[in-house]
Protein backbone atom coordinates (compact mmCIF):
# COMPACT_ATOMS: atom_id res chain seq x y z
CA UNK A 1 0.00 0.00 0.00
CA UNK A 2 1.19 3.50 -0.76
CA UNK A 3 2.53 5.79 1.94
CA UNK A 4 -0.11 8.49 1.51
CA UNK A 5 -3.52 7.36 0.30
CA UNK A 6 -6.36 9.79 -0.38
CA UNK A 7 -9.65 8.14 -1.26
CA UNK A 8 -12.79 9.72 -2.71
CA UNK A 9 -12.09 12.97 -0.90
CA UNK A 10 -14.83 15.56 -1.04
CA UNK A 11 -15.31 18.96 0.56
CA UNK A 12 -18.33 21.19 0.25
CA UNK A 13 -18.96 24.63 1.68
CA UNK A 14 -22.71 24.97 1.76
CA UNK A 15 -23.98 23.98 -1.69
CA UNK A 16 -20.63 24.52 -3.35
CA UNK A 17 -18.30 21.53 -3.84
CA UNK A 18 -14.72 22.77 -3.59
CA UNK A 19 -13.11 19.34 -3.95
CA UNK A 20 -14.73 16.25 -5.46
CA UNK A 21 -13.80 12.66 -6.33
CA UNK A 22 -10.20 13.23 -5.34
CA UNK A 23 -8.01 10.13 -5.25
CA UNK A 24 -4.26 9.95 -4.87
CA UNK A 25 -1.69 7.37 -3.84
CA UNK A 26 1.79 8.75 -3.18
CA UNK A 27 4.82 6.59 -2.43
CA UNK A 28 7.27 7.15 0.41
CA UNK A 29 9.70 9.90 -0.55
CA UNK A 30 7.67 11.07 -3.52
CA UNK A 31 7.33 14.77 -4.40
CA UNK A 32 3.77 15.42 -5.60
CA UNK A 33 2.56 18.83 -6.78
CA UNK A 34 -1.03 20.08 -6.91
CA UNK A 35 -1.11 22.47 -9.88
CA UNK A 36 -4.04 24.61 -10.96
CA UNK A 37 -5.52 28.10 -11.18
CA UNK A 38 -6.82 29.96 -8.10
CA UNK A 39 -9.97 28.43 -6.71
CA UNK A 40 -9.36 24.98 -8.18
CA UNK A 41 -9.38 23.34 -4.74
CA UNK A 42 -5.68 22.56 -4.48
CA UNK A 43 -5.14 24.43 -1.21
CA UNK A 44 -8.31 23.00 0.34
CA UNK A 45 -7.10 19.49 -0.48
CA UNK A 46 -3.73 20.22 1.12
CA UNK A 47 -5.44 21.63 4.20
CA UNK A 48 -7.51 18.47 4.54
CA UNK A 49 -4.29 16.44 4.52
CA UNK A 50 -2.89 18.78 7.19
CA UNK A 51 -6.07 18.51 9.25
CA UNK A 52 -7.08 22.17 9.10
CA UNK A 53 -10.23 21.32 7.18
CA UNK A 54 -12.51 18.37 7.84
CA UNK A 55 -13.46 16.44 4.69
CA UNK A 56 -17.16 16.18 3.92
CA UNK A 57 -16.49 12.63 2.73
CA UNK A 58 -13.54 10.38 1.98
CA UNK A 59 -10.47 8.97 3.76
CA UNK A 60 -6.86 10.04 4.20
CA UNK A 61 -4.29 7.41 5.24
CA UNK A 62 -0.66 8.09 6.08
CA UNK A 63 1.59 5.03 6.30
CA UNK A 64 -1.44 2.78 6.73
CA UNK A 65 -2.93 4.87 9.60
CA UNK A 66 -6.29 6.52 8.99
CA UNK A 67 -5.78 10.18 9.96
CA UNK A 68 -9.06 11.55 8.58
CA UNK A 69 -10.48 12.32 12.03
CA UNK A 70 -7.23 13.36 13.72
CA UNK A 71 -6.44 16.92 14.74
CA UNK A 72 -3.49 18.64 13.06
CA UNK A 73 -1.30 18.27 16.15
CA UNK A 74 -1.79 14.49 16.12
CA UNK A 75 -0.81 13.97 12.47
CA UNK A 76 2.94 14.61 12.49
CA UNK A 77 2.91 16.66 9.30
CA UNK A 78 5.23 19.57 8.55
CA UNK A 79 3.56 22.60 7.02
CA UNK A 80 5.06 25.57 5.17
CA UNK A 81 2.77 28.55 4.51
CA UNK A 82 2.81 31.21 1.81
CA UNK A 83 3.07 33.90 4.48
CA UNK A 84 5.99 32.12 6.26
CA UNK A 85 4.07 32.23 9.59
CA UNK A 86 7.21 32.39 11.72
CA UNK A 87 6.52 33.20 15.37
CA UNK A 88 7.46 36.89 15.62
CA UNK A 89 8.37 36.68 19.31
CA UNK A 90 10.97 33.95 18.83
CA UNK A 91 14.43 33.91 17.29
CA UNK A 92 15.22 31.75 14.30
CA UNK A 93 16.64 29.06 16.57
CA UNK A 94 13.61 29.19 18.88
CA UNK A 95 11.29 28.93 15.90
CA UNK A 96 13.08 25.83 14.64
CA UNK A 97 13.16 24.37 18.16
CA UNK A 98 9.45 25.00 18.81
CA UNK A 99 8.12 21.67 17.55
CA UNK A 100 10.84 19.74 19.38
CA UNK A 101 10.13 21.54 22.65
CA UNK A 102 6.42 20.85 22.28
CA UNK A 103 7.26 17.19 21.76
CA UNK A 104 9.17 17.29 25.06
CA UNK A 105 12.64 16.57 23.71
CA UNK A 106 15.62 17.28 25.95
CA UNK A 107 17.76 20.36 25.46
CA UNK A 108 20.70 18.08 24.67
CA UNK A 109 18.74 16.69 21.75
CA UNK A 110 17.18 19.97 20.57
CA UNK A 111 20.41 21.99 20.29
CA UNK A 112 22.21 19.75 17.78
CA UNK A 113 19.01 19.17 15.80
CA UNK A 114 18.46 22.92 15.41
CA UNK A 115 22.09 23.39 14.33
CA UNK A 116 21.70 20.61 11.81
CA UNK A 117 18.53 22.15 10.38
CA UNK A 118 20.06 25.63 10.13
CA UNK A 119 23.05 24.14 8.35
CA UNK A 120 20.71 22.35 5.96
CA UNK A 121 19.05 25.65 4.98
CA UNK A 122 22.46 27.40 4.97
CA UNK A 123 21.57 29.99 7.62
CA UNK A 124 23.53 28.84 10.70
CA UNK A 125 24.82 32.40 11.24
CA UNK A 126 21.28 33.80 11.66
CA UNK A 127 20.22 31.61 14.60
CA UNK A 128 19.82 34.53 17.01
CA UNK A 129 17.99 36.88 14.62
CA UNK A 130 14.27 37.61 14.83
CA UNK A 131 12.02 36.97 11.83
CA UNK A 132 11.52 40.67 11.08
CA UNK A 133 15.28 41.00 10.60
CA UNK A 134 15.28 38.48 7.73
CA UNK A 135 14.44 38.81 4.05
CA UNK A 136 11.39 36.97 2.69
CA UNK A 137 13.52 34.22 1.19
CA UNK A 138 15.39 33.69 4.46
CA UNK A 139 12.13 33.61 6.42
CA UNK A 140 10.73 30.94 4.16
CA UNK A 141 13.90 28.84 4.55
CA UNK A 142 13.53 29.09 8.33
CA UNK A 143 9.88 28.05 7.99
CA UNK A 144 11.06 25.02 6.03
CA UNK A 145 13.64 24.16 8.70
CA UNK A 146 10.99 24.51 11.41
CA UNK A 147 8.64 22.18 9.53
CA UNK A 148 11.21 19.43 8.96
CA UNK A 149 12.91 19.68 12.37
CA UNK A 150 10.17 17.50 13.87
CA UNK A 151 10.87 14.77 11.29
CA UNK A 152 7.32 14.84 9.97
CA UNK A 153 5.94 11.90 8.01
CA UNK A 154 4.76 14.27 5.31
CA UNK A 155 5.88 17.75 4.32
CA UNK A 156 3.15 20.06 3.01
CA UNK A 157 3.97 23.30 1.21
CA UNK A 158 1.22 25.79 0.34
CA UNK A 159 2.46 28.09 -2.43
CA UNK A 160 5.64 28.72 -0.44
CA UNK A 161 7.27 30.85 -3.14
CA UNK A 162 4.37 33.05 -4.28
CA UNK A 163 5.29 35.99 -2.07
CA UNK A 164 8.91 36.13 -3.27
CA UNK A 165 10.76 37.86 -6.09
CA UNK A 166 11.25 35.98 -9.35
CA UNK A 167 14.97 35.45 -8.88
CA UNK A 168 14.71 34.20 -5.29
CA UNK A 169 11.80 31.99 -6.31
CA UNK A 170 14.03 30.06 -8.70
CA UNK A 171 16.95 29.62 -6.32
CA UNK A 172 14.67 28.66 -3.42
CA UNK A 173 12.84 26.09 -5.49
CA UNK A 174 16.14 24.35 -6.18
CA UNK A 175 16.98 24.49 -2.47
CA UNK A 176 13.63 23.07 -1.38
CA UNK A 177 14.00 20.26 -3.90
CA UNK A 178 17.54 19.53 -2.69
CA UNK A 179 16.47 19.40 0.97
CA UNK A 180 13.52 17.18 0.09
CA UNK A 181 15.79 14.80 -1.83
CA UNK A 182 18.42 14.74 0.93
CA UNK A 183 15.84 13.81 3.57
CA UNK A 184 13.74 11.61 1.29
CA UNK A 185 10.59 13.09 2.82
CA UNK A 186 7.19 12.53 1.20
CA UNK A 187 6.06 15.98 0.02
CA UNK A 188 2.95 17.69 -1.29
CA UNK A 189 3.53 21.02 -2.95
CA UNK A 190 0.71 23.37 -3.95
CA UNK A 191 1.37 25.90 -6.71
CA UNK A 192 -0.23 27.80 -9.56
CA UNK A 193 3.09 28.07 -11.40
CA UNK A 194 3.51 25.35 -14.00
CA UNK A 195 7.29 25.78 -14.17
CA UNK A 196 7.59 25.20 -10.41
CA UNK A 197 5.46 22.08 -10.62
CA UNK A 198 7.25 20.72 -13.71
CA UNK A 199 10.76 21.32 -12.40
CA UNK A 200 10.34 20.03 -8.84
CA UNK A 201 7.83 17.20 -8.92
CA UNK A 202 8.03 13.47 -9.29
CA UNK A 203 4.35 13.60 -10.12
CA UNK A 204 1.88 16.39 -10.77
CA UNK A 205 -1.85 16.48 -10.03
CA UNK A 206 -3.37 19.04 -12.40
CA UNK A 207 -6.56 20.33 -10.76
CA UNK A 208 -9.49 22.22 -12.21
CA UNK A 209 -12.79 23.09 -10.52
CA UNK A 210 -12.22 20.75 -7.59
CA UNK A 211 -11.27 17.71 -9.65
CA UNK A 212 -7.96 16.11 -10.55
CA UNK A 213 -7.86 16.43 -14.34
CA UNK A 214 -4.69 14.40 -14.76
CA UNK A 215 -2.05 12.78 -12.54
CA UNK A 216 1.33 11.98 -14.04
CA UNK A 217 5.03 12.76 -14.26
CA UNK A 218 5.99 16.22 -15.53
CA UNK A 219 7.05 14.56 -18.79
CA UNK A 220 3.67 12.87 -19.20
CA UNK A 221 1.66 15.93 -18.19
CA UNK A 222 3.55 18.20 -20.53
CA UNK A 223 3.84 15.89 -23.53
CA UNK A 224 0.66 13.84 -23.25
CA UNK A 225 -2.01 16.09 -21.71
CA UNK A 226 -5.21 14.13 -21.48
CA UNK A 227 -7.67 17.04 -21.51
CA UNK A 228 -7.82 20.36 -23.26
CA UNK A 229 -7.55 22.15 -19.89
CA UNK A 230 -4.30 20.39 -19.02
CA UNK A 231 -2.92 21.08 -22.49
CA UNK A 232 -3.61 24.79 -22.24
CA UNK A 233 -2.73 25.26 -18.56
CA UNK A 234 0.59 23.40 -18.71
CA UNK A 235 2.93 24.74 -21.34
CA UNK A 236 2.17 26.87 -24.36
CA UNK A 237 0.65 24.66 -26.99
CA UNK A 238 -0.23 25.99 -30.45
CA UNK A 239 -3.86 25.12 -31.12
CA UNK A 240 -4.94 25.56 -34.75
CA UNK A 241 -8.03 24.65 -36.75
CA UNK A 242 -7.23 22.14 -39.51
CA UNK A 243 -9.44 20.91 -42.36
CA UNK A 244 -9.16 17.18 -42.94
CA UNK A 245 -8.16 16.27 -46.51
CA UNK A 246 -7.37 12.55 -46.26
CA UNK A 247 -7.72 10.91 -42.87
CA UNK A 248 -5.94 7.66 -43.83
CA UNK A 249 -2.83 9.47 -45.06
CA UNK A 250 -3.00 11.96 -42.20
CA UNK A 251 -3.30 14.88 -44.64
CA UNK A 252 -4.86 18.04 -43.23
CA UNK A 253 -4.89 21.69 -44.31
CA UNK A 254 -4.00 24.53 -41.96
CA UNK A 255 -5.06 27.85 -43.38
CA UNK A 256 -4.94 26.39 -46.88
CA UNK A 257 -1.49 24.87 -46.49
CA UNK A 258 -1.35 21.10 -46.55
CA UNK A 259 0.53 19.30 -43.77
CA UNK A 260 0.81 15.69 -42.66
CA UNK A 261 0.32 14.16 -39.21
CA UNK A 262 1.58 10.66 -38.50
CA UNK A 263 -0.33 10.51 -35.20
CA UNK A 264 -3.66 9.35 -36.42
CA UNK A 265 -6.75 11.01 -37.79
CA UNK A 266 -8.94 7.96 -37.30
CA UNK A 267 -12.53 8.32 -38.34
CA UNK A 268 -12.30 11.87 -39.59
CA UNK A 269 -14.30 12.78 -42.67
CA UNK A 270 -12.73 14.86 -45.45
CA UNK A 271 -13.68 18.49 -45.04
CA UNK A 272 -14.20 18.11 -41.28
CA UNK A 273 -12.54 20.76 -39.07
CA UNK A 274 -10.27 19.39 -36.32
CA UNK A 275 -8.03 21.12 -33.77
CA UNK A 276 -4.37 20.35 -34.28
CA UNK A 277 -1.80 20.88 -31.54
CA UNK A 278 1.88 21.63 -31.89
CA UNK A 279 4.49 22.25 -29.17
CA UNK A 280 6.52 25.43 -29.77
CA UNK A 281 9.82 23.61 -29.21
CA UNK A 282 8.96 21.06 -31.92
CA UNK A 283 9.06 23.75 -34.60
CA UNK A 284 12.26 25.00 -36.26
CA UNK A 285 12.85 27.97 -38.49
CA UNK A 286 14.42 27.85 -41.98
CA UNK A 287 15.98 24.45 -41.28
CA UNK A 288 17.27 23.07 -44.61
CA UNK A 289 17.92 19.63 -43.11
CA UNK A 290 14.41 19.12 -41.81
CA UNK A 291 12.19 16.72 -43.64
CA UNK A 292 8.55 16.82 -42.70
CA UNK A 293 6.05 19.65 -42.82
CA UNK A 294 7.05 23.08 -44.12
CA UNK A 295 4.91 26.22 -44.04
CA UNK A 296 5.77 29.70 -45.21
CA UNK A 297 4.74 32.72 -43.21
CA UNK A 298 5.76 36.06 -41.74
CA UNK A 299 7.24 36.76 -38.33
CA UNK A 300 4.62 38.60 -36.28
CA UNK A 301 6.28 38.84 -32.91
CA UNK A 302 9.64 38.05 -31.30
CA UNK A 303 9.86 37.65 -27.52
CA UNK A 304 13.31 37.28 -26.02
CA UNK A 305 12.80 35.15 -22.89
CA UNK A 306 16.48 34.64 -22.01
CA UNK A 307 17.88 31.30 -23.01
CA UNK A 308 14.87 30.85 -25.29
CA UNK A 309 13.60 33.18 -28.02
CA UNK A 310 9.89 32.71 -28.73
CA UNK A 311 8.84 33.65 -32.27
CA UNK A 312 5.28 33.90 -33.54
CA UNK A 313 4.81 33.27 -37.26
CA UNK A 314 1.59 34.25 -38.97
CA UNK A 315 -0.13 32.43 -41.86
CA UNK A 316 -3.28 34.23 -42.94
CA UNK A 317 -5.79 33.45 -40.18
CA UNK A 318 -3.59 31.31 -37.93
CA UNK A 319 -0.26 31.74 -36.23
CA UNK A 320 2.29 29.35 -34.74
CA UNK A 321 4.63 30.09 -31.84
CA UNK A 322 8.01 28.43 -31.91
CA UNK A 323 10.96 28.36 -29.53
CA UNK A 324 14.62 28.68 -30.53
CA UNK A 325 17.64 28.90 -28.27
CA UNK A 326 19.30 32.26 -27.91
CA UNK A 327 22.55 32.47 -29.85
CA UNK A 328 24.83 35.31 -28.75
CA UNK A 329 26.41 35.59 -32.20
CA UNK A 330 23.09 35.92 -34.07
CA UNK A 331 20.57 38.71 -33.46
CA UNK A 332 16.98 37.42 -33.11
CA UNK A 333 14.98 37.80 -36.37
CA UNK A 334 12.99 40.96 -37.04
CA UNK A 335 9.23 41.31 -37.14
CA UNK A 336 7.87 41.22 -40.69
CA UNK A 337 10.56 38.88 -42.00
CA UNK A 338 9.38 36.03 -44.29
CA UNK A 339 10.32 32.61 -42.96
CA UNK A 340 9.68 28.89 -43.40
CA UNK A 341 8.63 26.91 -40.33
CA UNK A 342 9.44 23.20 -40.25
CA UNK A 343 8.10 20.43 -38.00
CA UNK A 344 8.08 16.64 -38.07
CA UNK A 345 5.01 14.67 -39.08
CA UNK A 346 5.09 12.97 -35.67
CA UNK A 347 4.87 16.24 -33.76
CA UNK A 348 1.53 17.30 -35.19
CA UNK A 349 -1.19 16.05 -32.85
CA UNK A 350 -4.81 16.03 -33.93
CA UNK A 351 -7.10 16.39 -30.91
CA UNK A 352 -10.16 14.17 -30.59
CA UNK A 353 -12.70 16.90 -29.86
CA UNK A 354 -14.12 18.89 -32.77
CA UNK A 355 -12.77 22.43 -33.04
Amino acid sequence: MSFLVIEALRKTFGQHAVVEHFDLAAERGEFVSFLGPSGCGKTTTLRMVAGFETPTAGRIRIDGRDVTGLRPNQRNVGMVFQSYALFPNMTVAQNVAFGLKVAGRSAAEIGPRVDEMLKLIKLPHLAERYPYQLSGGQQQRVALARAIAIKPQILLLDEPLSALDAKIRISLREEIKAVQRTLGITTIYVTHDQEEALSMSDRIVVMNEGKAEQIGTPFEIYNYPRTRFVASFVGTLNLLPGKVIDAAAGRIAIDGREVVSSRGLAGAQPGEIRTVALRPEAVTLNDPRADGNRMEGTIEDVAFLGSVVRIRVRFGESSISLDTFNNPSVQPPERGQAVTVCFAHADLQVLQDAA
Partner: protein, 263 residues
Protein backbone atom coordinates in the same frame (compact mmCIF):
# COMPACT_ATOMS: atom_id res chain seq x y z
CA UNK B 1 3.91 68.73 -2.74
CA UNK B 2 5.55 70.74 0.00
CA UNK B 3 2.76 73.29 0.26
CA UNK B 4 0.19 70.61 0.94
CA UNK B 5 2.01 69.69 4.15
CA UNK B 6 0.93 72.95 5.79
CA UNK B 7 -2.75 71.95 5.91
CA UNK B 8 -2.39 68.99 8.25
CA UNK B 9 0.07 70.85 10.45
CA UNK B 10 -2.47 73.62 10.92
CA UNK B 11 -5.18 71.07 11.72
CA UNK B 12 -2.79 69.34 14.08
CA UNK B 13 -1.86 72.58 15.83
CA UNK B 14 -5.49 73.67 16.17
CA UNK B 15 -6.37 70.26 17.57
CA UNK B 16 -3.55 70.45 20.06
CA UNK B 17 -4.54 73.99 21.12
CA UNK B 18 -8.13 72.85 21.51
CA UNK B 19 -6.97 70.56 24.31
CA UNK B 20 -3.99 72.44 25.60
CA UNK B 21 -5.48 75.90 26.16
CA UNK B 22 -8.22 74.80 28.60
CA UNK B 23 -5.58 72.71 30.32
CA UNK B 24 -3.20 75.63 30.72
CA UNK B 25 -6.02 77.89 31.88
CA UNK B 26 -7.00 75.29 34.49
CA UNK B 27 -3.39 74.87 35.58
CA UNK B 28 -2.85 78.62 35.86
CA UNK B 29 -6.00 78.96 37.94
CA UNK B 30 -5.01 76.10 40.25
CA UNK B 31 -1.82 77.99 41.21
CA UNK B 32 -3.69 81.10 42.44
CA UNK B 33 -4.96 79.88 45.82
CA UNK B 34 -2.64 82.28 47.64
CA UNK B 35 -3.62 85.79 46.74
CA UNK B 36 -1.05 87.72 44.64
CA UNK B 37 1.42 84.88 44.06
CA UNK B 38 1.60 81.52 42.26
CA UNK B 39 1.90 78.55 44.62
CA UNK B 40 1.24 74.83 44.79
CA UNK B 41 -0.83 75.35 47.94
CA UNK B 42 -3.99 73.88 46.32
CA UNK B 43 -2.05 70.73 45.42
CA UNK B 44 -0.69 70.44 48.96
CA UNK B 45 -4.22 70.63 50.38
CA UNK B 46 -5.67 68.15 47.89
CA UNK B 47 -2.87 65.59 48.19
CA UNK B 48 -2.98 65.87 51.98
CA UNK B 49 -6.73 65.26 52.09
CA UNK B 50 -7.31 61.72 53.47
CA UNK B 51 -10.45 61.43 51.34
CA UNK B 52 -8.32 61.98 48.24
CA UNK B 53 -6.02 59.16 49.27
CA UNK B 54 -8.91 56.86 50.17
CA UNK B 55 -10.95 57.43 47.02
CA UNK B 56 -7.92 57.28 44.72
CA UNK B 57 -6.81 54.03 46.35
CA UNK B 58 -10.31 52.60 46.06
CA UNK B 59 -10.59 53.50 42.38
CA UNK B 60 -7.13 52.10 41.65
CA UNK B 61 -8.08 48.77 43.22
CA UNK B 62 -11.30 48.65 41.27
CA UNK B 63 -9.43 49.52 38.08
CA UNK B 64 -7.03 46.61 38.60
CA UNK B 65 -9.91 44.22 39.24
CA UNK B 66 -11.65 45.53 36.12
CA UNK B 67 -8.50 44.94 34.04
CA UNK B 68 -8.09 41.35 35.25
CA UNK B 69 -11.73 40.43 34.61
CA UNK B 70 -11.72 42.29 31.28
CA UNK B 71 -8.61 40.48 30.02
CA UNK B 72 -9.94 37.07 31.01
CA UNK B 73 -13.22 37.85 29.26
CA UNK B 74 -11.92 39.51 26.13
CA UNK B 75 -8.76 37.64 25.06
CA UNK B 76 -10.24 34.16 24.62
CA UNK B 77 -13.39 35.57 23.02
CA UNK B 78 -11.52 37.76 20.53
CA UNK B 79 -9.13 34.91 19.72
CA UNK B 80 -11.86 32.37 19.09
CA UNK B 81 -13.94 34.80 17.08
CA UNK B 82 -10.99 35.59 14.85
CA UNK B 83 -9.97 31.97 14.49
CA UNK B 84 -13.20 30.05 14.15
CA UNK B 85 -16.19 32.33 13.89
CA UNK B 86 -15.21 35.33 11.78
CA UNK B 87 -18.88 35.63 10.78
CA UNK B 88 -19.77 36.43 14.39
CA UNK B 89 -17.31 39.31 14.42
CA UNK B 90 -19.82 42.05 13.49
CA UNK B 91 -22.22 40.77 16.16
CA UNK B 92 -19.53 40.80 18.83
CA UNK B 93 -18.32 44.21 17.71
CA UNK B 94 -21.88 45.42 18.00
CA UNK B 95 -22.17 44.05 21.52
CA UNK B 96 -18.87 45.55 22.61
CA UNK B 97 -20.03 48.92 21.30
CA UNK B 98 -23.29 48.82 23.27
CA UNK B 99 -21.80 50.24 26.50
CA UNK B 100 -20.69 53.31 24.54
CA UNK B 101 -24.23 54.17 23.58
CA UNK B 102 -26.34 52.79 26.39
CA UNK B 103 -26.10 55.65 28.83
CA UNK B 104 -24.44 54.51 32.05
CA UNK B 105 -27.60 55.62 33.80
CA UNK B 106 -29.64 52.98 31.96
CA UNK B 107 -27.19 50.25 32.88
CA UNK B 108 -27.23 51.24 36.50
CA UNK B 109 -31.03 51.34 36.64
CA UNK B 110 -30.99 47.88 35.18
CA UNK B 111 -28.49 46.66 37.76
CA UNK B 112 -30.40 48.22 40.62
CA UNK B 113 -33.63 46.59 39.50
CA UNK B 114 -31.93 43.25 38.98
CA UNK B 115 -29.72 42.99 42.00
CA UNK B 116 -31.74 44.84 44.63
CA UNK B 117 -31.92 43.30 48.06
CA UNK B 118 -35.14 41.40 47.30
CA UNK B 119 -33.83 39.78 44.11
CA UNK B 120 -32.22 36.38 43.63
CA UNK B 121 -28.75 37.95 43.52
CA UNK B 122 -28.95 40.71 46.16
CA UNK B 123 -25.69 42.35 45.15
CA UNK B 124 -26.63 45.80 46.46
CA UNK B 125 -27.27 44.50 49.96
CA UNK B 126 -23.67 44.76 51.23
CA UNK B 127 -20.75 47.12 50.41
CA UNK B 128 -18.64 44.17 49.26
CA UNK B 129 -21.20 42.91 46.78
CA UNK B 130 -21.94 46.46 45.61
CA UNK B 131 -18.21 46.81 44.87
CA UNK B 132 -18.51 43.64 42.80
CA UNK B 133 -21.48 45.12 40.97
CA UNK B 134 -19.55 48.34 40.30
CA UNK B 135 -16.60 46.33 39.01
CA UNK B 136 -18.86 44.52 36.57
CA UNK B 137 -20.23 47.87 35.51
CA UNK B 138 -16.71 49.08 34.85
CA UNK B 139 -15.90 45.92 32.91
CA UNK B 140 -18.89 46.70 30.73
CA UNK B 141 -17.80 50.28 30.34
CA UNK B 142 -14.21 49.33 29.45
CA UNK B 143 -15.24 46.47 27.17
CA UNK B 144 -15.18 48.44 23.90
CA UNK B 145 -11.63 49.68 24.47
CA UNK B 146 -10.29 46.39 25.71
CA UNK B 147 -11.90 44.46 22.89
CA UNK B 148 -10.71 46.88 20.21
CA UNK B 149 -7.16 46.88 21.54
CA UNK B 150 -6.95 43.09 21.73
CA UNK B 151 -8.70 42.58 18.41
CA UNK B 152 -6.35 45.00 16.65
CA UNK B 153 -3.37 43.27 18.25
CA UNK B 154 -4.62 39.88 17.11
CA UNK B 155 -5.28 41.09 13.59
CA UNK B 156 -1.75 42.43 13.25
CA UNK B 157 -0.18 39.01 13.69
CA UNK B 158 -2.30 36.75 11.44
CA UNK B 159 -3.55 34.64 14.34
CA UNK B 160 -4.99 32.01 12.11
CA UNK B 161 -1.84 31.03 10.26
CA UNK B 162 0.30 31.25 13.40
CA UNK B 163 -2.14 28.97 15.19
CA UNK B 164 -2.11 26.52 12.31
CA UNK B 165 1.68 26.59 12.16
CA UNK B 166 1.88 25.83 15.88
CA UNK B 167 -0.78 23.13 15.59
CA UNK B 168 1.03 21.37 12.76
CA UNK B 169 4.15 21.39 14.96
CA UNK B 170 2.19 19.39 17.55
CA UNK B 171 1.23 22.19 19.94
CA UNK B 172 -1.99 22.04 21.96
CA UNK B 173 -4.27 24.94 22.93
CA UNK B 174 -2.52 26.07 26.14
CA UNK B 175 0.87 26.13 24.41
CA UNK B 176 -0.51 28.02 21.43
CA UNK B 177 -2.26 30.58 23.62
CA UNK B 178 0.55 31.20 26.09
CA UNK B 179 3.66 30.70 23.96
CA UNK B 180 2.54 31.96 20.57
CA UNK B 181 -0.48 34.25 20.82
CA UNK B 182 -0.15 36.10 24.15
CA UNK B 183 3.52 37.16 23.76
CA UNK B 184 2.61 38.76 20.45
CA UNK B 185 -0.38 40.75 21.75
CA UNK B 186 1.25 41.72 25.05
CA UNK B 187 1.55 45.35 24.06
CA UNK B 188 -2.05 45.48 22.81
CA UNK B 189 -3.15 44.04 26.15
CA UNK B 190 -1.17 46.63 28.08
CA UNK B 191 -2.59 49.40 25.96
CA UNK B 192 -6.13 48.17 26.67
CA UNK B 193 -5.29 47.85 30.37
CA UNK B 194 -4.03 51.42 30.69
CA UNK B 195 -7.02 52.79 28.85
CA UNK B 196 -9.27 50.87 31.23
CA UNK B 197 -7.36 52.26 34.17
CA UNK B 198 -7.77 55.82 32.96
CA UNK B 199 -11.50 55.35 32.37
CA UNK B 200 -12.19 53.81 35.77
CA UNK B 201 -10.23 56.53 37.58
CA UNK B 202 -12.34 59.26 35.97
CA UNK B 203 -15.76 57.57 36.04
CA UNK B 204 -18.50 59.40 37.94
CA UNK B 205 -22.05 58.31 37.12
CA UNK B 206 -21.97 54.65 38.14
CA UNK B 207 -19.98 55.18 41.30
CA UNK B 208 -22.29 58.00 42.36
CA UNK B 209 -25.50 56.09 41.67
CA UNK B 210 -24.22 53.03 43.53
CA UNK B 211 -22.96 55.35 46.26
CA UNK B 212 -19.39 54.04 46.41
CA UNK B 213 -16.40 56.10 47.69
CA UNK B 214 -14.67 56.36 44.30
CA UNK B 215 -12.43 59.09 42.90
CA UNK B 216 -14.98 60.42 40.40
CA UNK B 217 -17.65 61.42 42.98
CA UNK B 218 -14.92 62.90 45.19
CA UNK B 219 -13.82 65.01 42.24
CA UNK B 220 -17.38 66.28 41.80
CA UNK B 221 -17.82 66.92 45.49
CA UNK B 222 -14.70 69.08 45.63
CA UNK B 223 -15.73 70.75 42.38
CA UNK B 224 -19.07 71.81 43.82
CA UNK B 225 -17.69 73.19 47.11
CA UNK B 226 -14.22 74.64 46.55
CA UNK B 227 -12.68 77.20 44.21
CA UNK B 228 -9.04 76.34 43.50
CA UNK B 229 -8.73 72.74 44.65
CA UNK B 230 -10.93 71.34 41.84
CA UNK B 231 -8.54 72.78 39.30
CA UNK B 232 -5.62 71.14 41.08
CA UNK B 233 -7.51 67.83 41.17
CA UNK B 234 -8.35 68.12 37.47
CA UNK B 235 -4.67 68.65 36.70
CA UNK B 236 -3.70 65.65 38.85
CA UNK B 237 -6.33 63.50 37.18
CA UNK B 238 -5.05 64.69 33.84
CA UNK B 239 -1.48 63.72 34.66
CA UNK B 240 -2.46 60.30 35.92
CA UNK B 241 -4.32 59.61 32.70
CA UNK B 242 -1.54 61.23 30.71
CA UNK B 243 0.99 58.92 32.32
CA UNK B 244 -1.23 55.97 31.34
CA UNK B 245 -1.45 57.22 27.77
CA UNK B 246 2.31 57.73 27.66
CA UNK B 247 2.79 54.13 28.73
CA UNK B 248 0.41 53.03 25.97
CA UNK B 249 2.55 54.86 23.43
CA UNK B 250 5.76 53.33 24.81
CA UNK B 251 4.39 49.80 24.72
CA UNK B 252 2.64 50.41 21.43
CA UNK B 253 5.87 51.55 19.85
CA UNK B 254 7.83 48.67 21.36
CA UNK B 255 5.41 46.28 19.73
CA UNK B 256 5.60 47.98 16.39
CA UNK B 257 9.39 47.91 16.45
CA UNK B 258 9.37 44.17 16.87
CA UNK B 259 6.83 43.42 14.17
CA UNK B 260 7.78 42.52 10.61
CA UNK B 261 5.48 45.10 9.00
CA UNK B 262 7.67 48.07 9.79
CA UNK B 263 10.78 46.84 8.03
Amino acid sequence: MKTSKIGPWIAFTLGALYFIIPLIATFEFSLRLKRGEYSFEAYRIVLGDPRFQATFGYSTLLALATIVIGVLLVVPTAYWIQLRLPKLRPVVEFITLLPLVIPAIVLVFGYLKMYNSSSLLPLTSSPWSTNLLLTFGYVTLALPYMYRAVDTGLRAIDVRTLTEAAESLGAKWPTILFKVILPNVRSALLSGAFLTFAIVIGEFTMAALLDRPAFGPYLQLIGANRAYEPSALAIIAFFVTWACMGLIQVFGRGARGASPETR
